[in-house]
């Protein structure tokens, strides 16, 4: 029987404060090897801080973490040799060409000069940067090209755990798709991918497990399906007859509302989808049957989960 593999990333009680501001407040998580883990959260949630601690670039005030089996505080160098980090902002020299940037990273990863040359060429090819682009300065690259080169730089040393901090923020749909394909390819090759994102869709599509981070705390964790179940499986959207009716029903539903769209006068509430529940709910908010124009039932999305847990928490 195979032994249960040790987690590729494991953290407990990670806490970080800047002055009086607590940025991380007891974050604990565990990522199985060869899986994709998404840390999902809005601006300022503490995603970058978490990643920097796990990648040994920042020390936690309290708590600890092991990455690839090594302690991030006591065994920095060993952790660094096992991981790569592609940060939120491109870490490239604008005045070097794409090829020069990659060769430099390859040399710093311990490859010999000829091996570095080969590895750079290989990665440029793989990330559609070969040819003319390879020998142009990064300063002339588009946002998508920079991101691809930055990702490529993260793969130079064949890391077993890869951290990607908001890998697709600011990318157009095509470049985003290219990054997604690459993440899947890495996961298929057995690499552990730890990514952060503000996009629920991205987490839903890529990640085996997702953790929701808000205000420095993990507010939910699980597979996309599990998280959706937490809020109940369905969402009932009610379209109201008038702005007044919208206000009235919004007030009556209070914190049950998971979606508000005043422009279309639509309110979303979670439900388990049973007819009895829906009938009761409609009767309760609109006893005279004059306020609700129409309703529609949807499967809940991670957006709904996110709004619910952050509001309740």
């Amino acid at each position: 029987m195979p032994q249960p593999a040790r987690p590729a990333v494991e953290a407990a009680g990670l806490t970080k404060a800047y002055g009086r501001t607590t940025v991380l407040d007891g974050v604990g998580l565990s990522v199985a090897p060869g899986t994709v883990f998404a840390l999902l959260g809005p601006n300022g949630a503490g995603k970058t801080t978490t990643v920097r601690i796990l990648a040994t670039l920042l020390r936690a005030d309290a708590g600890g973490a092991r990455v690839a089996g090594f302690d991030v505080a006591a065994e920095r160098s060993r952790v660094r040799r096992a991981i790569s980090l592609t940060g939120q902002y491109a870490a490239l020299d604008e005045q070097q060409t794409g090829a020069e940037n990659l060769r430099m990273v390859a040399r710093l990863s311990g490859l010999s000069r000829p091996a570095a040359r080969r590895r750079a060429a290989e990665l440029l090819e793989r990330f559609a940067l070969a040819g003319d682009a390879a020998d142009r300065r990064v300063g002339t690259y588009s946002g998508g090209m920079r991101r691809r080169l930055d990702l490529a730089a993260g793969l130079v040393g064949d890391p077993s755990v890869i951290f990607l901090d908001e890998p697709t923020t600011g990318l157009d749909p095509r470049s985003r798709q290219a990054v997604w394909d690459e993440v899947r390819r890495l996961a298929d090759a057995g690499v552990t991918v730890f990514l952060t994102t503000q996009y629920l869709e991205e987490a839903d599509r890529l990640a085996d497990r997702i953790a929701l981070l808000d205000g420095g705390k993990l507010v939910a964790e699980g597979t996309a399906a599990e998280l959706k179940q937490q809020v109940s499986a369905e969402r009932l959207d009610l379209t109201l007859v008038s702005p007044e009716a919208y206000e009235e029903v919004a007030h009556a539903l209070g914190h049950l509302t998971v979606r508000r769209d005043p422009a279309t006068r639509t309110l979303g509430v979670t439900t388990d989808g049973r007819a009895a529940h829906i009938r009761d709910l409609l009767d309760a908010v609109d006893p005279d049957r004059t306020l609700i124009e129409r309703f529609a039932l949807h499967s809940a999305t991670l957006d709904d989960v996110f709004l619910k847990v952050t509001r309740d928490g």
Partner: protein, 254 residues
Amino acid sequence: MADALTHAATMVGRSVRLSSRNPDAVITALALPVLLMLVFVYLFGGAIDTGGGYGRYVDYVAPGVLVLCAGFGAGTTAMSVADDMKGAVIDRFRSLDVGGTAVLAGHVAASVVRNLAATVLVFGVAFAVGFRPEAGVGGWLASAGLLLAVITAISWVAAAFGLLADSPEAAGGFTFFLAFLPYPSSAFVPVDSMPGWLHGFAEHQPLTPVIESLRGLLLGRPVGGSPWEALAWCAGLTAVSVAAAAALFRRRTS
């Protein structure tokens, strides 16, 4: 160890390449020395009487211009260090386990290369406008060694300032005084011609023994103990700056 050497060598290559593509660095290293030399010799030279039997002002001023160029070059060095520290690129280097020493050694080495280019140009222009040193082989070697020591010291001081500043602009400001320091010394006019209150500083600041030694060595005059004094200053400044830079790097990255 092999790792550390590869890291340092790679970072040196990077910094030299980035310098050669940074118009600011290139102008400071190549155009400024020529201009400064011409300004001092032709614009100021006619009005300055250095006394003491220096036939031409160029013979007197050449060492001063060399040191002045190193002072200007410090701005480039401090700014490129500060630029690295504020960018995401330092995170990448750290996640590749590249130490602060390697990163800074890269900047300092590039700075030395730029300053050596400036030095060669200053000598070239000086010869063209009539500089006639009388140093023998020993004098030239000693001058070259001393110049290298000064340039290295100033480069490390600049690197430490680059780490102290929280933006490249601030780093440029911090090093302003390095470009100013040669003026209150014997670089351009004899200290005797300065107001009395300045004599103490001008005679005892680190650049005075450096400039006096270079001038003496190049012109084949007796220099007494001043080369040793100059070397002691350079060694001291380098040691302090290397230690300060290492501590600042650690503080900036923890």
